[in-house]
């Protein structure tokens, strides 16, 4: 019992640290990557001076995330003249909390047997083993969908209670867009569920650990390429980022539904947006890119298709799996940021047409084809 508590507390700490750390990293990546793509240098003025010396630790501007956070915390927390202060104060938390909850069902590593990590730990943990996942729920994907549904409430509440027309318009746009794209996202995910035959994300990742045609890893992107594109598009639209950033487009609506927010409440909206990038990347990695699987790596070590094997201790395998997941998530996030700095914004009617007349029929078609293939091959 106490061992379970220790392990799951460690998992929770890792999950929260993972999300917040990589979200802060992505604020830096977004600036720096856009700068390099546009022949600029990017943010590099923030430094930490090593005490008692004149050495300034710049680290390519990595500390700008910390500076942003400190700035947000220290700014004046301005509340506009609104008719519902309670809703106004509740909205940022309602927007940020569900995003943090989604990560609880995502597996970030294989099976952990703490007793085998180090010989000293064996007395305490014995031979218990845990899946590296905060909550191993049977209905993994549905939890993801339902929590992202709660997130819509936060944006709507923010726009409504700000008593501002820009915020109101932004909230209306955000809500319609998120509801519309949730449909095609759900359909794309269902075709994935049909392929894997499960809703549990950990089982999905284990399904992807096999090999296709003897050499190609059986990742979802190879078995369901269309669902990958559909899910990526719908997820970016859910996340309200370019090219779907109509709810907060600066040229029309100042900042959209969080125009009236200042200080850390505005920071919560921004942070939840970046955490959402992490979560979307983690979902992409889990469902389409093999999760924590490195090709040919099993729980006992590498087994190559030619027959060669390379046995590894448990600690190395766990570290490799966790590291693989981390690297994949960062790369998927960088890809999203590349999209964000490449594409122009949609017009609103184009957005709705694209969602309802193009993505949804395509997702439904994909589902039908997947179901037929599954029916014949089962």
């Amino acid at each position: 019992m106490i061992q379970d508590l220790v392990v799951y507390l460690a998992y929770m700490g890792y999950a929260i640290g993972f999300m917040l750390g990589i979200a802060t990293l992505f604020t830096w990546v977004e600036r720096k990557q856009s700068a390099i793509m546009a022949d600029r240098i990017g943010a590099n003025r923030c430094y930490i001076r090593i005490p008692f010396t004149n050495v300034k630790l710049v680290a390519w501007g990595l500390f700008h995330g910390i500076a942003d956070g400190a700035k947000m915390l220290l700014k004046e927390n301005f509340t506009p003249l609104t008719y519902d202060r309670f809703c106004f104060n509740l909205a940022p938390f309602l927007a940020a909390a569900p995003v943090l909850l989604v990560f609880s069902v995502i597996p970030f590593g294989g099976t952990l047997t703490p007793g085998q990590l180090l010989p000293q730990l064996h007395d305490f943990f014995g031979d218990r083993s845990y899946a590296m996942q905060v909550a191993s729920l049977d209905a993994g994907i549905l939890v993801v969908l339902s929590f992202s549904g709660i997130g819509i409430l936060g944006t709507m509440l923010a726009g409504w209670s700000s008593n501002n027309k820009f915020s109101m318009l932004g909230a209306a746009r955000a809500a319609s867009q998120m509801i519309s794209y949730e449909v095609s996202m759900g359909l794309a995910l269902i075709s994935l569920v049909v392929t894997y035959g499960t809703l549990d994300l950990n089982t999905m990742v284990q399904w992807q650990s096999g090999l296709l045609f003897g050499a190609l890893p059986a990742w979802g992107i190879f078995t369901q390429p269309l669902a990958f594109i559909l899910f990526l598009t719908a997820a970016i639209a859910e996340n309200k980022r370019v090219p779907f950033d109509l709810p907060e487009c600066e040229s029309e609506l100042v900042a959209g539904y969080f125009t009236e927010y200042s200080a850390m409440k505005m920071g919560l909206f921004m942070l939840s947006e970046f955490i959402e990038i992490v979560v979307v990347s983690a979902l992409l990695v889990t469902m389409f890119l093999g999760g924590y699987n490195l090709p040919y790596l099993t729980d006992s070590g590498f087994i190559f298709p030619a027959g060669a094997t390379w046995a590894l201790p448990h600690l190395a395998v766990v570290l490799l799996q966790v590291g693989t997941f981390l690297v994949k998530v960062v790369l998927a996030g960088c890809f999203q940021i590349l999209i964000r700095w490449s594409l122009p914004r949609f017009r609103y009617d184009q957005l709705m047409n694209f969602g309802w007349k193009f993505l949804m029929p395509l997702a439904a078609l994909n589902l039908v084809v997947t179901a037929c293939v599954r029916w014949w091959t089962i």
Binding site: A35, I36, D39, R40, I229
Partner: protein, 186 residues
Amino acid sequence: MKKDYWNKPEMGLWERLYIFEVVRGLCITGGVFFGNMWKWLTFRKGALTAYYPEEIRSDYSPNNRGRHVLTRRENGEVQCVSCNMCATVCPAYAIEILSTANFDDHFHPKAPERFEIDYSRCIFCGFCVEACPEDAIRMVKEVPDFPTYDRNNLWATQDLLMNWRPTCNPAKIYPAAQKALEEVHP
């Protein structure tokens, strides 16, 4: 009623499918990213930006109006005669002059004791240079040492203006004081 524009794009099937054009766009931006990244990794600069205070750009126009210079006479004294024309013409009221007199120097009896320019107000219009009857103030193209953390550092003193780039106009000849006295009172 939908309006038709004269420059409405003609889109074929390839463009209508959208996704391939998106991939092409991603390839272009990604190519730029990796090209610049390779430059950074090989210790070249992958950007056109200059780090301003640390790195002065080399290609300022020769006509650029940068920091002011107070020119000197041959003996190293300031050429300014403290006529206050530059301070009068200055639209930003950035120049302050306090005069002093030296009646032994007959050609140059009046000189500034303090000549200060407030760079937090200066708009670099160059009017002071044009107003000066003595060619005592000039603007050179370089702009060193402007950024600072304290606005008091933006006051340029006479010492700084005279000495940061010592300038002398040899075409303008000033006779020595004794010789001048002989010329005036033979």
